[in-house]
Symmetry: C2
Subunit: 353 residues, 2 copies
Amino acid sequence: MSRNVRRKPATLTDVAATVGVAPMTVSRVINGNGYVSEETREKVLEAVKKMNYRRNGLARNLKRQKTETVGLVIGDISNPFSTELANAVRESLSFRGYNLFICISEHSAKEDIAAFDSLVDHNVDGLIVATRSNEEGDERLSEIADSGVPIVVVGRDFKHDSVDAVSADNFNGGFEATQHLIDLGHKRIGFIGAGFENRSRLKRLQGYLAALAKHGLSVDERLITGRKGTSDDVPGYSTESIGYEGMKRLLSLPKRPTAVFARNDFTAVGAISAVKEAGLSIPQDIAVVGFDDTPLALHTMPPLTTVRQPMKIQGQLAAEMLLRRITGEVEPEAEEKILDCELIIRESTVSQV
Amino acid sequence: MSRNVRRKPATLTDVAATVGVAPMTVSRVINGNGYVSEETREKVLEAVKKMNYRRNGLARNLKRQKTETVGLVIGDISNPFSTELANAVRESLSFRGYNLFICISEHSAKEDIAAFDSLVDHNVDGLIVATRSNEEGDERLSEIADSGVPIVVVGRDFKHDSVDAVSADNFNGGFEATQHLIDLGHKRIGFIGAGFENRSRLKRLQGYLAALAKHGLSVDERLITGRKGTSDDVPGYSTESIGYEGMKRLLSLPKRPTAVFARNDFTAVGAISAVKEAGLSIPQDIAVVGFDDTPLALHTMPPLTTVRQPMKIQGQLAAEMLLRRITGEVEPEAEEKILDCELIIRESTVSQV
DNA sequence: CTGTTAGCGCTTTCAA
DNA sequence: TTGAAAGCGCTAACAG
């Protein structure tokens, strides 16, 4: 029917002109504030419909100096970790009338920066960042924070005197996972998923080391493995292959471990595959612990013992902290919240009776 | 250090004033076009840094009449279906210099509309919509299309004379899945995941029915099951419970089916749980087929036979069609692309030798 | 190489 | 109840 050629969209002024009123009157009708006679209102609405008028949010927000929109940057959308976070954030925000725009930055600092910029360019009222930190990205983030944009980071290293942070207690989670294995009598416990660059920053690994130390177990470097040479910052299911390869390496050691703690559930799943392939059984020959309690963990054979981190609460908290900053209800000092994890014991460490 | 009180951010004019040049000159430096003397450039950049200046994208885009941003609306971010789509779309777009904003609309028409509006309010150059269709949402989408915004829908019922559509061939996928079971000799084949309202619209179910018809198998209404009374439009992993309950119902029939086709992999996973719980084995007692080939499908016990739909290609295609519309390279007539699915045979239907 | 003018589409403010 | 004026922050187009 209507040949929808890309004509210029109608503006407020266009509508006003065809109705024969001032733009301001149309504005009042559209936004439902101020007094407009019933008669005019109807004429305006009719014209609006006829002309397919839609208000221009850019102009509107430019004038109003706010967008009621928050940006969320996540690193890997296929990771249940990110998606739970996104859902929790969205829910908390919509409750307060804010919209959420999500940007994905999968691979590089360049994408991080592009995501930050595009969101800030649209004048989001605030930013929640849950990507893995990297130098250039952090630099840009600092600039943005300096320019006055409220920011909260989730599960991410980043320091700035006006940026709040939320994270799970990864150190303690790693500690408890390892402790659990030690309690079961394991003495040779491997760690899968630690690259070489990020060991000091990987809290889960630090927790593992601390647990070993506490129980007087010596650290065997050969039992700590990860993707060689390259960064571990590969997204999503590809960490499954890290787990697979890592476990193969551990199994080929002269004295193989009797248990492993995998950096996350994907890694654990890969590790499990390698164990099975070697004809060994879990947990009798090798016990496996993961991290995150993704839905996958329930469906591995055997079901995976793992550390659950409270994603929903992290999301809610991040949203709340950000809104407080946006509405200016909060002191300028940065705040940091660290939330407890919970060990979920399943049959990959304790065989059923 | 710098007490970051929420002061008004610096504008182009502010910077120009402190440097003592015209705003236009600063603009040229910021955007790197036009000639500016090295000396001026440096002075400007210095002031920019000192004043934490960031350009106002709203004003910029208002003037330029484009944002180089595309909006994607998905229904359920925890579904691998959506995330693969999002990744493919993002990749194709970034290749052409476009940014992607993702909005989630999980539950209702109201959220659909909110997502559409917020994206359009930010003047995205185009919209990709992959939520499940519903009446009010469709109405708003039509208005938006009428107002001239380029739109592509993915895997979604929607008709409009300027809106392109991409989808997988769900009918044929359902047909092949069922055909596979028939080929294996099954005569009583159940379908799990069909509510009552949406049966006619559920192409996978229609394919199932067609396959039965083709082979002269009668349709037994009791073998078609789903969540009773309510809509099936419940997001994500909750369809697992639909599968579980549905399978329980089928197993309790006087003459139970020897195979089932589940509406999607999540449903299939739930069905598998129910079968195991009943002490039956797969595929000997009950064969199970899913749909989507999510990562989960590899990790069920036994691995799941399923129908893979080409999400990546759907995403790429959607992005390309949209960009063509945005740049006006395309005729106004709506186009529809339907892509082939592929049956992936695993051990949930064919036991290993 | 740099500046001036005008205006994107809307809303705030004040006046009628 | 309605309108006029001004300007949000930026850039295209032209002038110098």
